[in-house]
Amino acid sequence: MKMFRWSGLIGFVVFTGLLALIGFFFLDGWLKSALESAGMKLNGAEVNVAKVDFTLSPLGFNLEGIEIADPDKLTHNALVLSQVKVEINFLQLFLGNVRINDLVVSDVQTDILRRRPAQLAPVASVPVGAEENAVVAATAEKAKALGKLLPSPTDLVSEQTRSTRDAVAQAQSTIDSGRSTVAASVNDLPGDAALRDYKERIAALKNMPLDSLANVKQSQALVSALGSDIAKDKIRIETVKRSMNGAVNDSKQALDAILSGPEADWAQLKADYPLNKDSAYKIAELLLGEAFFNKMNQAQYWYAKAKPWIARLQSDAEPEAAVSDRLVGQVVRFDHPDPTARFQLDQSLLSFVADQRPWQLTVGDLASGRTNTTKPVLIQLRRGDGDAASLLVNGQLDLIDDQRVDTFDLAGKGIDFAARQINMAGTNLAWTPEPANVSGQLTAVDGELTGLVSILFPSNRFSVVDGGQTAKYLQTALKTVDEFRVDIAVSGTLKKPSFAVMSDLDNKLSAALRDVAQAEYEAWLSSMKVALDAEIARLRQPADAAFAQLSDKRDAVEQQIKKFEQEVEAEIRSLEEQLANERKRFERAASEALNAAKDQAQAELDAAQAKVQAELEANKAKAQAEVDAARQAAEAEKSRAEAAAKKAADDKLKAEANKLTNKIKF
């Protein structure tokens, strides 16, 4: 019996051969179509791949001519990759892991014109980064604010006297109100008729006879009634005086408030048009601002593109097991120095040309589902060739104590910054920096960014393009600024970083500006002050005039009150005094008469009392004698009655005794 079934062996070989042939002839096409289709879906616009080669040794792919269209600008490619070589670990594919041993991406170019406009994917994605960058807007606002520096005083004087105008309007209103109050109060004062009436009543009182107390009392009653009427008028006068003084005081305060208006305007003017450290600092922000934030916009755009892939990398969940009724079993894992993740990229190299210089981005040990024991991801961005690298960024993405700790070290020399033109203080300024040196370190712990990047500009040229208010002294000041340093403090999160730009340019520029521009600034302030004072004086004039009128009116009213007091009150006081004297005289005479009558009555009273006393004594003695006589008679009667009673009792007793004796005898 033959042991082998040759037909089976041949069939196996043929089947395997067919698989290989299909792979050889068709797999490349299938991969190309799959890449273009999936890429278009992800990118939102056409993705083209010129050529795909599937290689067996090493197992992998060789892709050429990859063009990724820009969905926001279909005439251009967002990315063009000349060649992509991927080397894959074959056996790990059977374990469900994708492990790329080596990835080389050569000659990456951005924003390249396409041969023909690209097609959009059926469902276009929302362009990321199209929204206005708030930071850029803020920078533009700052530039606009700086452009306001030191305009003409004539142009400004109307704008910068707002507080004074408000204070003048307020004072005018208060003074008008005070004038109305004073005018109304004058009507309440006693007039000439009242004065005449008072005079007549006083004359009548003077003519009244004062020869008796009754007449005096009648005159006093009339004077009292007159005084009561005058008191009522005085109360009205006091009320008028109080309201008048209140109105004048309010008007005075309103006038004083006008004085604080110019002070506020002056302070506001200095705040709006400062020449200090802050304004110089803003200049540093402007120098870096636009280019810096443009780069940030680009980075955010590509971060948004890569976000879905990063999310997949971070999630390393086990694929769901196929539905089966059989027992699944258990996979036992052992120690491994280099365990393969679901996705792993051992080594990759991306090279491209930018700024007319070669760039290389190296990424190593990139793995999904990182743990504390996983090797950190190493990233290196190099600008320039070999040891002559002008910029080197070394990054390490690690997981320490379950915290994602990403660190980036930056070192660069001779970094070109493009010449740029900025508008500062209404002046177009051209800045041409020499190549700068960059250094710094950024750290992100669980997405929270901290770090500082320093850019040293060793040599700079500033020139003023056209004229402006500050052109002359700005030009002079900037000539003295040569080397300066810009520090960018990074904070916030990876998704939303924030930057604080600090620079010693502010010190240098402000020092230079302080010397050069101080005189100009003082002159401007001086002329501004003169213009402001003139404007304030003009604005105050109506209020001052109104207040003067109010003061005159008050004086007139006070004069009227004084006259009233002199003519009426003095007469009344004199009359009252005269009446009081007369009354006192009469009262004194009455008092003396009363005392004499009192003395006579007292003498008569004493005599009567003595007579009554003597009679009382006599009557008392007579009564005593009568009482003694009566007592003696009573006592005699008593004795007689007692003797009679005793005799009667003895008789009775004898009679009884006789009766008894008789009875006994019987």
């Binding site: 019996m1 033959k2 042991m3 082998f4 079934r5 089976g8 062996l9 069939g11 196996f12 670990n89 056996l91 790990q92 059977f94 374990l95 009724d325 059989r326 027992l327 699944v328 079993g329 258990q330 996979v331 036992v332 894992r333 052992f334 120690d335 491994h336 120095p337």
Partner: protein, 168 residues
């Protein structure tokens, strides 16, 4: 399935060598009892096709042993887990774990390891038992079965004759 049963019956009743049927059954034992999507089953399939074993018997017993595996899986899992967690073998397993080839073989999967060990150990005894059974069957059972009226009716049926004609 009926076709395969008929083919098995025909093979049993024919002059086909007992080893051919026995090894077909033994190979089916391995592929049937171990998890299907294991790399070693590719080798079993290749052997089944390249070696001159009876394929109908192989496929029929494959189905039969797959059904049986549902009952034996917990036992295979226990065996595999016992071996994988033996401290004395830990070094060996760890060494094997470093190589992608062995990871692809799923050696560290409890059920795969347990079922493979059992089936490999049972391979030769199963083949010998199959062979012995076939020889005994042909010597004693086959003549008696052929005399049974049911078998004669079955062989005389149009379906069987049609099958004989198509199968050659």
């Amino acid at each position: 399935m009926i076709t395969m049963v008929l083919k098995l019956l025909k093979a049993l009743n024919s002059e086909i060598g007992p080893w051919q049927i026995a090894f077909a059954g033994a190979l089916a034992l391995v592929i049937g009892l171990t998890p299907l999507w294991s790399v070693h089953n590719l080798v079993i399939l290749l052997l089944a096709f390249v070696l001159r074993v009876h394929l109908a018997t192989f496929f029929m017993f494959w189905a039969l042993f797959t059904g049986l595996a549902y009952l034996l899986d917990p036992w295979f899992h226990q065996i595999g887990l016992y071996w994988l967690t033996q401290a004395s073998l830990n070094e060996t397993w760890t060494t094997m774990y470093q190589q992608d080839f062995w990871q692809v073989m799923h050696f560290n999967h409890s059920k795969t390891l347990g079922s493979l060990i059992v089936t490999v150990l049972a391979f030769l005894p199963t083949a010998l038992l199959f062979r012995l059974g076939i020889i005994r069957y042909r010597a004693s059972m086959m003549p008696w079965l052929n005399k049974l009226k049911v078998m004669q009716v079955l062989k005389g049926s149009r379906f069987y004759q049609l099958y004989e004609r198509v199968d050659g």
